[in-house]
Symmetry: C2
Subunit: 206 residues, 2 copies
DNA sequence: ACCAAATTTAACCATATGGTTAAAACCTAC
DNA sequence: GTAGGTTTTAACCATATGGTTAAATTTGGT
């Protein structure tokens, strides 16, 4: 872990904000400089080019996004606790970075190469225990007939979709239902409860 | 409905492809011209500026996206048929335009003004019967104790999230699970089945 | 065949933006 | 305080891109 000067940190902070908001193409070096309280040339002094600065930010953000996902997988062997813990944890992680889903979903589709490299690294670095735990705990629950048989992949996509949706559709939701504030803690609490209830009743044997 | 010349149609077709793929900022007039088989100046002859061309495309795409959503709401009063019909219909609509969710989710967050105007128009034009039907059919089912009490908004977000997710996370999914092809018809079929099962068991009274 | 209108093109322009450079300001150790 | 390195800045450059223009070509009616 290299140590960063104060200026470098301010630049990275500003760059992250701008890139997450506007994307790679939409971001302006000028704006990043302004936000960091320095001028444009200094940006190139520290980070040679927009490309390099972007890669740095992208790399870091993608890593922490997937780290957050993996960290949200609890250790419990109790399925109800496991699911509740995952939903709570992942939603909290998403709420802490409301723009991240949208950014990653858009930017990855623009250039898959960088993303693929990073993902491979992550899978090598991280012990795959969280993902493995996810699969085993569900397979086990099916075998023990605690839950009905289901496609584990699709179940994962279902869960992730429900968690992620409000952050992607925020403008639509808040325009259509003006009383809803997607980033409010009430909404987050409701969400946790409603997702868990649907999922739990949806998979347990009757 | 104004009639469009062949060239105008080719331009709009090309512009749609490029804008959906690259976004407003990332799109290049040059590329649109090339795809349409004409040169750059002709673009400006027909559609004064990039902004105007973009607005035209954005307007049309947003409208058809929400039209697709509303069209997917079936008329049935039978709840199971209603939900099954909606899931099937909406997933088919999404599969027909796999890039659209991502485009709209990204571009709307870039500039809400255009979107808000369009949405107001849509809500005025369209009889709100589909949305109204959605609410009444669910309230009725709760009242008749066919399903458990639930928050209708969150239930909608849950359903939409599950439908939409694969199209947003496509690169991630296909990298993580190389056997899955998000756009394949098998995957689509599985998806329809798994979403409905989860939802149906998740809301019906035991 | 011919004219006028519509269509198409190549060449050019203005501006925005990423990037460079050389000099000024600013530390810090002696 | 001053020499030497580091940090910061203003001014400038090159290129990409949106946009314009005037001329050429095609089209369609008579």
């Amino acid at each position: 872990m290299e140590k960063l000067t104060d200026t470098e940190q301010r630049i990275l902070q500003a760059a992250t904000e701008v890139f997450l908001e506007k994307g790679k193409e939409g971001a302006r070096m000028q704006e990043i400089a302004r936000k960091a309280g320095i001028n444009k040339a200094l940006l190139h002094y520290y980070f040679r080019s927009k490309e390099q600065l972007y890669q740095r930010v992208f790399n870091y953000e993608v890593r922490s996004f997937f780290a957050a996902l993996l960290q949200s997988v609890p250790q419990t062997r109790d399925l109800a606790q496991f699911l509740k813990g995952f939903i709570d944890g992942y939603l909290d992680q998403l709420a802490a970075r409301p723009r991240m889903v949208r950014f990653i979903s858009w930017e990855i589709s623009q250039d898959m190469t960088a993303f693929k490299t990073i993902l491979k690294e992550i899978l090598l670095e991280t012990s795959d225990s969280p993902l493995h735990h996810w699969i085993t705990i569900l397979e086990e629950a099916i075998e023990k007939e605690i839950i009905r048989p289901l496609n584990i992949h699709h179940f994962l996509f279902n869960l992730l979709g429900m968690c992620v949706y409000p952050f992607l559709a925020q403008p639509v939701i808040e325009t259509l239902f003006p009383t809803i504030r997607v980033n409010s803690s009430e909404f987050l609490q409701e969400r946790k409860k409603e997702i868990f209830e649907l999922v739990w009743r949806g998979i347990t044997k009757t």
